[in-house]
């Protein structure tokens, strides 16, 4: 199916959920409300004409200052069976950002959701193992948010001092003759 037809189909099924459909360079993004995201993904996966069986990617975007709703979770979906693709964008508000996990539909979204949580602090309800993935467990802040400085926070990560102390200690080791 052509990407615009797919967008039409989603609109037909969820008329209140779809906010915007945009095309750029032949790729179509459908902006949706987050409330029924799991149901929508299940529909996209199970419908025989669409059959989006393949989870390509999931990532967060921080639109602070640019849009009224701060975060968006972007789903890139592909169908191996029909060879067509679509991009879903679910809006997530800035205070206590949370959205339903789509792991019941695609297991492959597991680590992508953990990464979005790690980088943006978006909580995925129903995710079985929502922990930080790339950063240490006790890291402060969410690095890919726009208000997080590129150079990092002023206060060093607590584990860093530990590493420094340890390396200093080992440097003082005296080799026995």
């Amino acid at each position: 199916m052509e990407p615009l037809e797919i967008a039409e189909k989603i609109k037909l099924r969820f008329p209140d959920e779809v906010l915007d459909v945009r095309e750029f360079r032949g790729q179509v993004s459908v902006t949706v409300r987050k409330a029924k995201i799991l149901e929508m993904c299940r529909f996209l996966h199970d419908d025989p004409e669409l059959s989006f069986d393949y989870p390509v990617d999931l990532c967060g975007v921080d639109y602070s200052g640019k849009k009224t709703v701060r975060f968006e979770v972007v789903y890139h979906l592909f169908s191996i069976k029909h060879r067509h693709a679509i991009r879903l964008k679910a809006e997530v508000q800035g205070d206590n950002p949370a959205i339903d996990s789509v792991m019941p539909v695609w297991v492959g979204m597991n680590w992508h959701e953990r990464e979005a949580y790690d980088m943006y602090g978006i909580v995925f309800n129903g995710h079985p193992d929502l922990r930080r993935i790339l950063l240490p467990e006790d890291w402060d802040g969410f690095p890919l948010r726009k208000d997080y400085p590129v150079k990092g926070p002023e206060k060093e990560w607590s584990g860093f001092q530990e590493v420094l102390d340890k390396s200093r200690k080992f440097r003082e080791f005296e080799w026995q003759e």
Binding site: F24, R25, V56, D57, C59, V74, H76, R87, M119
Partner: protein
């Protein structure tokens, strides 16, 4: 005897494998819960090599973020560069000259060969065979020498540019590459003689780490790891970029989805890569290697040194970046590890508003528990080798 058995205590053993372990191919840490030799639970920990490439990309112009892509999958940096420039070109909406397309296809397939050689060598070495590693690394050395001849760098090449490639290739380079291409199938036969029908190899890989086609798709696997399960999905075939629609090649496909099938798929890919390079050299058209799109590509260096307008132009492009149309694109390319996708959101300035790297290794590392749990601890090594991950790409 009975008394000793009574005094035995059996319990689950938790061991930490990595991050400094030769068989984890980088800084991957697996926490394994073992019941005897059987893996009950496997928890991967990644992030030891996290450098924040996505955050850095948001703060650099489209040109200066190119070297960051070298540092993703550092053993096939050429393919990452090709993926990056393809995504940026799609966003800019510029067309690349034919010759540049062919050159990119050649270098990308060279990158694929050099990456697969490392995979073959280390995967086989992990399972106990030293000879193929030594033999194959000698051939990788020849490819790296060719890269050095092409652009001066062996590993982090940054050779492709937005709109084409950095410099044209010389006849000497083509001659040496052609010589390599003619010899390489012989070397492949040599490796395959040592490995493919080897009984120890068969014992260690057949039926190990099986994943069905349906499950592999649901997990989002790509590249050889997906094709080993029998799914015919290759980005080069379904959405050809560069010159892949002008060359003939087959996509090898496995049946059962075990380590052995994935091995056969990748070995087949190496032969196909060789075939693609050969065709590209034979068909290589003449012409320019940079697109004629002055608003989006850097002017030629010799003109910058001679001409005021070009100098100003270069200065503006480097400091402010080009004026990019607003929008967003996701462009995927087939790198040795799988599907590498770049997702750009542009807000009209010279820097991407959001740069997302969809790394195949990240997804493949996440499937490790699924492959390892219920198997033996020795098979963990085979599984890590077979999914072919590079942690630089996984952690970004």
């Amino acid at each position: 005897m009975e008394d000793t058995e009574k005094t035995f205590e059996t319990r689950e053993l938790t061991i930490s494998m990595g991050p400094q372990h030769p068989a984890t191919h980088g800084v991957l840490r697996l926490v394994l819960n073992l019941d005897g030799e059987t893996v009950v639970k496997c928890t991967p920990y990644v992030g030891y090599l996290h450098r924040g490439i996505e955050k850095l990309g948001e703060n650099r112009t489209y040109f200066s973020a190119l070297p960051l892509s070298d540092r993703l999958d550092y053993i096939s940096s050429m393919n990452n560069n090709v993926g990056y420039v393809n995504a940026v070109e799609k966003l800019f909406g510029i067309d690349v000259p034919e010759r540049a397309k062919y050159i990119r296809t050649i270098v990308a397939e060279m990158g694929r060969l050099s990456s697969h050689i490392i995979w073959l060598g280390t995967h086989v070495l992990d399972i106990g065979a030293t000879t193929p590693f030594l033999l194959s690394m000698a051939q990788r050395e020849r490819l790296l020498d060719l890269f050095e001849m092409l652009c001066g760098a062996r590993l982090t090449v940054s050779y492709p540019r937005v709109g084409g490639v950095r410099n044209d290739i010389s006849q000497e380079f083509l001659d040496r590459l052609y010589e390599f291409v003619l010899e390489f199938p012989g070397h492949m036969d040599e490796y395959e003689t040592l490995v493919t029908q080897n009984r120890i190899w068969l014992e260690r890989t057949v039926g190990v780490g099986v994943i069905s086609a349906e499950e592999a798709v649901n997990w989002g696997l790509t590249g050889g790891t997906l094709r080993g399960s029998g799914i015919d999905y290759d980005v080069r075939k379904y959405a050809p970029y560069d010159a892949y629609d002008k060359v003939e090649f087959d996509v090898p496909i496995g049946k059962k989805g075990d380590c052995y099938d994935r091995y056969l798929v990748r070995v087949g890919e190496m032969r196909q890569a060789n075939r693609i390079i050969k065709q590209c050299i034979e068909k290589l058209p003449a012409g320019p290697v940079m697109a004629d799109a002055p608003k989006f590509t850097l002017p030629p260096k010799d003109m910058v040194l001679k001409d005021m307008e070009h100098l100003i132009h270069q200065f503006i492009l480097i400091t402010k970046g080009p004026t990019v149309p607003e929008g967003e694109v996701y462009v995927a390319t087939e790198v040795p590890k799988g599907e590498l996708g770049f997702y750009f959101i542009s807000d009209g300035t010279g820097k991407p508003y959001r740069m997302r790297v969809r790394a195949p290794s990240f997804v493949h590392a996440s499937v490790l528990p699924r492959l390892c749990e219920g198997g033996l601890i020795a098979d963990v090594i085979a599984n890590i080798g077979t999914i072919d991950i590079v942690l630089g790409e996984c952690d970004r």
